[in-house]
């Protein structure tokens, strides 16, 4: 069976895996974004706190993904839980780092002006600081998403959802008829998803970054 014949016969399974892969990455990114921006907002004002947040999230990233998922299984069991937890943890670093750097990079004169015209701390954050820091934050989200696309494949190791299942099945039955096709379908699916997500981010950038600060 060549690759196209394989796809033709198994496309339903491949589509389901692709959808689940996209879905888990998307949902984890939403959580990572909310958490990451929140951590950034809470820490950027203090030198030590911001640096601590960046260093901590950076060191999470140095744990091999297989090991992290493996370590999570005894804590949260198999399936979706360790997958989501691992992906969110990995997704944090780019978001936190860019949020801290972005928020610190806002021109102090603008923050002063915002204060001076009577904006409260919250208004300043939501109307001035976050919109101005949004382009780098969005870049962070984009980088994190690319990363999670690949890492999500490892989740199959913990019986998680996604295209990793195809790859793992293929690898474990290497030599059998469809092994290579399975690995190929899983990998291609991830690459295509990554490209689609990237295109989506370009669009989101267009829609959410003010024309006044767009490069």
């Amino acid at each position: 069976m060549n690759f196209w014949e394989y796809l033709g016969s198994r496309y339903q399974q491949v589509l389901v895996d692709t959808y689940q892969h996209a879905s888990v990455v998307f949902q984890c990114m939403v959580i990572a974004t909310v958490l990451g921006v929140a951590i950034g907002v809470l820490t950027y004002r203090r030198q030590w706190a911001g640096n601590l947040a960046i260093t901590t999230t950076a060191s999470i990233l140095t744990i091999p993904s297989l090991a992290l998922i493996g370590l999570l299984i005894p804590l949260v069991g198999l399936g979706v839980a360790p997958t989501v937890l691992a992906l969110v943890l990995y997704g944090l670093l780019p978001v936190v780092r860019n949020a801290v750097v972005g928020l610190r990079g806002v021109d102090p004169a603008l923050v002063d002006a915002a204060k001076g015209i009577g904006m409260s701390r919250t208004a300043r954050l939501f109307k001035v600081e976050l919109p101005l820091a949004w382009p780098p934050i969005l870049t962070g989200i984009r980088v994190a998403t690319q990363m999670l696309m690949g890492i999500a494949a490892i989740a199959a190791f913990a019986s998680g959802p996604g295209l990793g299942n195809l790859i793992f099945r293929g690898i474990s039955s290497l030599g059998s008829a469809n092994a290579l096709n399975q690995v190929l379908a899983g990998t291609l699916g991830i690459v295509i998803l990554a490209l689609l997500f990237d295109a989506a981010y370009v669009l989101i950038g267009r829609l959410t970054i003010s024309r006044g600060i767009r490069a």
Binding site: A113, G116, S120, P131, L132, G212
Partner: protein
């Protein structure tokens, strides 16, 4: 009577009351129009930054009248910004009190306070991700104006600062020149109609010509609005041009002299102030008087769309051998002299001398003099807000006005010195007689 002088600092401010008396309003013409500003009172205001050996601002006491434009001027680092930023509590004073319109605001919620105080800073501080309209709408929205009212207000403010609402409404700050940004900055500061406006070197970052225009605009605005404005600059000429009163600050914001520009120019309190005033006080005096204060003469005019024959007749028959040619919008266009007639061959295109420079009624006499000196006709056309012709000012008028002004200043300064001496003599006498009265101490 409020004692706004500490005995210790009285000596450094001998001209506090000014030649025209203590109680008089700073504008001669302010009485007729309504004053929307509020009084500001700084009492012994001090800011000591942690870690600094000396306070940045040390015990400033100052009374600012409603509707007055007070300029804080002094060398860089003397604490002007710190002083200003304590008024809207961007910086919390270490000690001392601030009251606005009699209300002590030293301890009230700073966010609410700032919405009632306009704030304009160098390089405009416009939010780059918001359009011009959104920038201006910020404060009105925060204080809860209706959408409709905010929208109208934005248009009104753009108009007020001389920007066409249709053209500029939806532009972003980066699509504006430095001068336009600064105008929007002022519009934003004034949008919610605050009684007080604080400006920290607002025109510091624009080129000299634009700065000059912006200063003229501010003067015009202030004539219309009568806000209480505290304006910080390190440029003494700017202070002279804008201030109803000027506080010359030395290090730690110690007030060297707080008085009208005229008084400071003609009667500087000490060497520090003299040094700051610099050379050319008489020339600087020209900055204190506006074209509207001198006699604007009529001049014979014709319009480009007048029949050529009429223009010829007027030039030949009139007693003046010069005419001012206006364009279709009634703006000064050319000087036409009798000698030019020969060059007119069916069209005015080649005849006459183009007018490059004209002044508004708010321009200073210095600008007018500059224009007169550079214009071949020896006079300058005065124009209205949209550039339309109003009249002319010539060299003779300027010279006479300046002489009169300087003479009046000298008299005022002399009178002032006499009254100071008389006062001192009376005080000495009182002290000798051992009847030191409280009023004597306070003055």
């Amino acid at each position: 009577m409020p004692d706004h002088d500490q005995p210790g600092t009285a000596e450094s401010r001998p001209t506090e009351t000014g030649p025209s008396g203590a109680t008089e309003a700073p504008h001669g013409d302010a009485a007729a129009t309504s004053v929307t500003g509020a009084t500001i009172r700084l009492e012994n205001l001090t800011k000591h930054y942690p870690g600094a050996p000396l306070p940045a601002v040390d015990g400033v006491t100052m009374d600012i009248n409603a509707g007055e434009l007070v300029v804080l001027v002094g060398p860089s680092g003397c604490g002007k910004s710190t002083c200003l930023r304590m008024i809207n509590r961007l910086i919390e004073p270490t000690s001392g009190r601030i009251s606005i319109d009699g209300e002590d605001v030293t301890d009230i919620d700073p966010v609410g306070l700032r919405r009632k105080i306009g704030y304009a800073i160098q390089a405009s501080g416009l939010f780059p991700h918001m359009t011009v309209a959104e920038n201006i709408a910020q404060v009105p929205r925060m204080v809860g104006w209706s959408k409709k009212k905010v929208k109208n207000r934005v248009e009104e403010m753009l108009d007020l600062v001389g920007l066409d609402p249709r053209e500029f409404h939806s532009r972003y700050p980066r699509q504006l020149s430095g001068g336009q940004q600064q105008r929007v900055g002022v519009a934003r500061a004034l949008a919610a109609d605050p009684p007080v406006l604080l400006m920290d070197e607002p025109f510091g970052a624009v080129d000299p010509i634009t700065r000059d225009h912006l200063q003229d605009e501010l003067i015009r605005l202030q004539r219309e609005l009568h806000k209480t404005i505290v304006f910080v600059t390190h440029d003494f000429d700017e202070a002279i041009k804008l201030g109803d009163r000027i506080a010359v600050l030395r290090e730690q914001s110690h007030i060297a002299q707080f008085d009208t520009p005229e008084a400071i120019l003609t009667n500087p309190a000490d060497d520090f102030v003299s040094g700051f005033v610099g050379a050319g006080a008489a020339l600087k005096r020209l900055n204190l008087t506006r074209v509207r204060d001198v006699e604007i003469a009529d001049f014979d005019t014709v319009r480009v769309d007048d029949p050529l024959q009429d223009i010829f007749d007027k030039l030949r028959s009139g007693d003046a051998n010069e005419l001012l040619l206006l364009d279709q919008q009634n703006r000064p266009y050319k000087w036409l002299r009798r000698g030019d007639l020969s060059r007119v061959k069916g069209s005015l295109a080649r005849a006459g001398t183009l007018i490059h420079d004209h002044v508004t009624r708010d321009a200073t006499l210095r600008d007018a003099l500059e224009a007169v000196l550079t214009d071949s006709s020896g006079r300058v056309a005065v124009t209205g807000r949209r550039g339309e012709y109003i009249g002319v000012v010539d060299m003779e008028t300027l010279l006479n006005s300046v002489h009169e002004m300087l003479e009046a200043d000298r008299l005022a300064a002399m009178e002032h010195r006499h009254s100071l001496e008389a006062d001192r003599a009376r005080r000495t006498r009182a002290a000798q007689e051992g009847t030191f009265t409280t009023s004597g101490e306070a003055s």
